[in-house]
Symmetry: C2
């Protein structure tokens, strides 16, 4: 799972572990903030598998002007510090990771794999975040598979909600929330599917 995320980010830009972590927490959503205890082992796995190559960066930045990607806080802060003084980066030396052709192939494989079983929300969100690398028909497939899973889940959720009626108020509230969330997620997917089928050519790809 992490492998997919790492490779996806490295496809855009070479990055070192620490920076990778920040972007990862953005990509995966506001929750689920990827621990270093999973990131570094995952990077090592990828390196052993030949999916990424690491270059020990001295102290000059690997890229003259690292692509800001967003006009966000980090960028502005860095710019501010840069005007104050041409400071050399603080802290320990970095290992900058770069994706290889093997990694590209691995990424495509992980992205397309149709995990029929298992309704892993995080994995779906991750795939969706990289949906732009998927051909349009596979995008629809991804969304429809997810929709089917949610419909199944909704049935279980409604059954559970019914049977929760003779439990206490907390169980009921929990079950109601569950049902509503699933319903909303389904209509969210329906909106995405509708957008997918009326192309309009406005999609901003990279």
């Amino acid at each position: 799972m992490l492998e997919l995320a790492i490779l996806g980010l490295l496809k855009e830009q070479d990055l070192h572990g620490y920076e990778l972590k920040k972007r990862l927490t953005e990509t995966l959503g506001s929750f689920s903030s990827v621990s270093f205890g999973s990131l570094y082992p995952a990077l090592n796995r990828l390196e052993r598998a030949g999916g990424v190559a690491a270059t020990e960066a001295g102290d000059e930045p690997a890229v003259a002007v690292p692509v800001p990607m967003t006009g966000s806080l980090d960028g502005e802060l860095a710019a501010y510090r840069a005007t104050r003084r041409p400071t050399r980066r603080a802290g320990r030396s970095r290992k900058v990771y770069r994706i290889t052709p093997r990694g590209d192939a691995l990424f495509a494989e992980l992205l397309a794999a149709d995990n029929a079983a298992g309704d892993d929300e995080r994995l779906f969100h991750l795939r969706l975040a990289f949906a732009r690398f998927l051909p349009p028909d596979e995008r629809v497939g991804l969304l429809e598979r997810r929709r089917a899973q949610l419909v199944e889940r909704l049935a279980r959720s409604r059954a559970n909600r019914k049977s929760a009626r003779d439990r206490d108020a907390y169980a009921q509230s929990l079950a109601e929330r569950d049902t509503e969330l699933t319903e909303r997620d389904i209509s969210w997917l329906d909106r995405l599917l509708a957008a997918e089928r009326t192309p309009k050519g406005k999609a901003k790809s990279r």
Copy 2:
């Protein structure tokens, strides 16, 4: 985490592993269906710690009429089979688990622990499911702590949503969903808090 769930269910009724798993998937919500690979090890941990005691059931049921808990499918099916024939249960012999006083204490400890750090959704849901075992003021505390976490998360989520504007449509949609879900969860908690503060004495406790 599983320990808390197991002990909470065993507080109501003695259960064997397989049945425990079914109830667990209900309690934890429609997703996250607790694997045997975590359940049985967790039961062994609890047994070693003296929180539960296992009795190897022969083939007579440990309880003459196992409490149905819900008038649900399981119950009706069992009743149906019972009318057809006084069948002896099929399958391998069971190990029925019973909670001990040590387990009771452990449960209280796990339920009350104020995990300031870490915004683990599942753990919160689990605690809420057993909120009836908490004194009213601690219930409010639990809800308010969760609310604070969600407010923090909402801030991150909104920031991320803003910075997602110059990424593709999928990232934007993902970020919007994130924000909306968090907002809805906060108002859900507000409703629970309001209900908590206007007691009305209607709460159905056990």
